[in-house]
Point group: C2
DNA sequence: CGCCCACAGTGACTTACATCACGCAGCCAA
DNA sequence: TTGGCTGCGTGATGTAAGTCACTGTGGGCG
């Protein structure tokens, strides 16, 4: 905790003006998350904005039977749009988030975030921008489910993974299936087809992506 | 156009402070839409915020093969979140909107909207609130597709329709099928099952919803 | 070393939904 | 009236994906 200083925040959020940075340092809490640790849990009332300093978070939806569905990954320098809208979450399905890698997050109390919206232009722009980006991302995800078949969705998923995390995907077929709300066997078959076309190479517990475009 | 006055805007947007209302009256354009008229078209760069004064708009997604998918309806007093994020829309799938009923909308130039965010607290809250609501709504829609089967999605669709428009649904099976990105025959069969259970009564070109809860 | 166990491959089957083909009924207009 | 159009009902069939049951395999560990 003490190892996180102004410089680190400034590095990830260079657009923030000085007084805002000071405010963040003074008022916010920095929390370290171990790999796999949840940050937003079911039914929890969110009272803080969450900014990601380093590491990687995964934001996903879960239904009442425990089925998961990946919404998007959060990278350092970005914020969780969901943590910004403290609506009541009584629905059966819940948004959840957890750390994919060991991460550090900045927790900003909701009432301060509200104040800062009016006070700091850079904060305001950041919040609005976050909404926009996540909205866009959610729309893309929606598209891929409504209009595309599973093989196309898998491609979309792999591409996004390569962009955010890298071309070496350290997940089992089972885990990929869960993120797409599908089943292992189906994902295995589709991955095998991709391998035959030279797009990926499969290994135990991980796979490498080569070229998804020409598939 | 001249029949729309300050009182009408004030009635739909009572939370706006006086100077903001004056600004809207002075700077914005009011546009009338006939039933079925599009307001956001494919690939169009959106330069205005759209507020709905009266009537009803339908916001939907369309893919490159012309398949539609309903996102949500917009009622008077609300705004189109999408018109607020003027990102470039080069993706294959497009968000579109059109009038379901004859409607009047207020078009607010994007640069003014930006200014007003800092200037008027009520405008700021309105914009943030719009993002939140639409985000929530989109999440619910996402849920229903990812986790639910078509019969449940149809129920979800009917419920939403009843809430926003009323229990008499003046659409053909074909039109309902399109909004769910399904096919007429399947929707016909599912509707018939609902009729047998007493939840709806079917007619030519319209249907009446009685009680969806106990199904 | 051999045992175990999680991961992966595979064929057979089921299911949900789409698609096709056709018939029929109501309604408008020539 | 009659013809045609549009919306709706329905069986037959196709297809993508989920499920089940089983086999194979590689890697860690006693």
């Amino acid at each position: 905790m003490d190892s996180i200083n102004k410089e680190e925040i400034q590095k990830q959020f260079p657009q923030f003006e000085q007084p805002l940075l000071d405010g963040i340092l003074k008022e916010s809490v920095i929390k370290h998350l171990e790999e796999g640790e949840p940050i937003i849990q079911t039914g929890q009332y969110i009272r803080s904005n969450i900014l990601l300093l380093n590491g990687l978070l995964k934001v996903y939806r879960e239904d009442d039977e425990g089925n998961e569905f990946l919404m998007y990954y959060l990278e350092p320098g970005s914020a969780c749009a969901l943590s910004m809208m403290c609506t009541d979450r009584r629905e059966t399905s819940q948004v959840k988030a957890k750390a994919v890698q060991s991460s550090d997050v900045v927790l900003i109390p909701a009432h301060l975030s509200e104040q800062w919206l009016a006070k700091y232009k850079s904060w305001h722009n950041f919040v609005i921008g976050t909404y926009r980006e996540r909205f866009e991302e959610l729309l893309q995800t929606l598209d891929s489910i409504v209009f595309k078949s599973l093989d196309e969705r898998l491609l979309f998923y792999l591409k996004r993974h390569v962009e955010t995390i890298g071309s070496e995907i350290r997940l089992s077929h089972q885990q990929i299936a869960e993120e797409l709300n599908s089943s292992r066997e189906v994902i295995s078959r589709l991955l095998k087809k991709l391998e035959q076309r030279g797009a990926v190479t499969l290994h135990r517990n991980y796979l490498k992506v080569h070229n998804l475009e020409k598939v």
